[in-house]
Subunit: 93 residues, 2 copies
């Protein structure tokens, strides 16, 4: 473990369908817990910021994240995309 400070994060998959709260003490710890939480394989995972797709690949940067930062977990060749709010178009007159 990098340190003993457990912090909460919000993790989601590439489609933002599954979103879960998780507590982790390090990036390594987070990556160990993610597969079971999101039903993802345990290899070829990439952590990015949900807001803008910035990759988080080192413990030093990970440790600067605010509590409850939203993180997207990508598997294999999955790509981050911005969150497009769905809108409802009504043709009623």
């Amino acid at each position: 473990m990098e340190n003993d400070i457990n912090k909460p994060y919000k993790i989601c998959d590439v489609n933002r369908d599954k979103k879960k709260g998780i507590v982790a003490s390090s990036l390594e710890d987070l990556l160990a817990k993610v597969p079971e939480k999101l039903g993802l394989p345990s290899e070829n995972l990439t952590v990015v910021l949900e807001c803008d797709g910035t990759e988080v690949d080192d413990e030093e940067y990970f440790s600067t994240l605010d509590p409850d930062t939203a993180l997207m977990i990508l598997h294999g060749n999955e790509k981050w995309a911005p969150n497009m709010p769905k809108c409802q178009v009504s043709l009623d007159q």
Copy 2:
């Protein structure tokens, strides 16, 4: 090292394809870490603000940047360009 204050930054390449979080204590420290992070050569690198292309070439200005400022790393003759949001044009009638 210019000082001991490590701050987080978001770095990207000229195409904004690769975006990574990084922690650095100075401009010199950032430039030392960039090549491995972004898969760029270690020479002829220029740091500019991602938002408007302002070149950051001295430590004093670098030290005034807010945490998590987005920086673009240019190599050789690469030029900054504004971020064009992708949009989908449909020709269906």
